[in-house]
Amino acid sequence: MACEKIQGLLSPYLDGELTPEAKAEVDAHLSSCPECAELLSLLRIATDSLASFPEVEPSRDLKAKLYAIQARKKKLRSSLDFLVKPSLQPVFAAATVLLIIFSFYMFGPYKKDIDKSVNRQIHHGYSQLEKLYAKAGSVTDSLGATAENILVSLKKINPLGKNEE
């Protein structure tokens, strides 16, 4: 049990983080317990060895792949750069407003009423157009009749006072 407790303190002992009392307790235990003393020595070896692990060079192939990723991302970013131009901001603002209005229409509670009203307006407009068309037809007819009357009247008029024969 004592060994287990002391072994839990070996790492902070190595870092010099124990209080003087705890350090004295560990020192006293180590002087009488070869097993824990050996473990402390192995702990030192482990930390020294890990600290001297050499760095490994990544392969050229990996670096080439990483450069390719970087180049691809740059190309994509520059091709999308036009989206952040300030001149396009009013267009985006207008599109946003339209989108909001459209979503109000689509998902709001008055969609049916709006549809009905729009239908009514379309029908009304259509009937107005028909009436206008009919009126235009009658005007054309009356113009035709007037033109005929004028022609007949012109034929009847004899400016030289001669007989038609």
């Binding site: 072994q7 839990g8 070996l10 790492s11 902070p12 190595l14 050996e38 473990l39 192995l42 702990l43 070896i45 482990a46 930390t47 060895s49 890990l50 600290a51 001297s52 692990f53 050499p54 760095e55 490994v56 060079e57 990544p58 392969s59 192939d61 990996l62 670096k63 792949k65 990483l66 450069y67 990723i69 970087q70 991302k73």
Partner: protein, 167 residues
């Protein structure tokens, strides 16, 4: 620029954690892809290296949980290490080399959280505060993980030596 500055660091962290050169290459590529996606989220007031290493740590722990690579063997310690000058005494050098090999393989026996803490603190040489920032944990938790990892590795070293040399 990012590749020049950070590819070796990211690759080594992946290699030390996974133990496989091929796995580390795949992880490094995935991490760089993720890095370019996440760059917009970087807060310029924070330390970039710590932010990047947090991203690396998160990605590796996720990948570890997805693929469970702890069951695979780690590469031989010397496979990708080229001519590192050792101590003058050949006998000491032999012992040190042997210890490193045992510890390299022993890393696979640590849980991923403990292993990550050991990689950052002991191999990469980060301070406790830096490791805590990267791991996103209180410093006390990091210390406790490192204590556990060191002790576990010391015991692995003891057991292997007993097995090899009958000490």
């Amino acid at each position: 620029m990012l590749v020049d500055m950070y590819s070796k660091k990211v690759f080594n962290m992946a290699y030390q954690f996974s133990g496989s050169y091929q796995e580390a290459e795949d992880l490094t590529q995935d991490i760089f892809l993720k890095l370019y996606h996440q760059l917009g989220k970087y807060d310029f007031e924070k330390n970039f290296t710590a932010w990047l290493l947090t991203l690396v740590k998160n990605y590796m722990i996720d990948a570890y949980r997805r693929t469970k690579w702890e069951k695979r063997q780690r590469d031989d310690f010397e496979k990708h290490v080229h001519a590192v000058s050792g101590p003058d005494n050949p006998e000491t050098g032999l012992w040190e080399g042997e210890n490193k090999k045992i510890l390299w393989q022993g890393l696979n026996e640590l849980s991923p959280d403990v292993r990550m803490a050991i990689v950052l603190k002991e191999i990469q040489g980060k301070k406790y505060e830096e490791a805590a920032e990267i791991l996103g944990l209180p410093i006390g938790t990091v210390k406790s993980r490192i204590n556990r990892g060191r002790l576990q590795l010391a015991k692995i070293l003891r057991d292997k030596k007993e097995k090899i040399y009958g000490l």
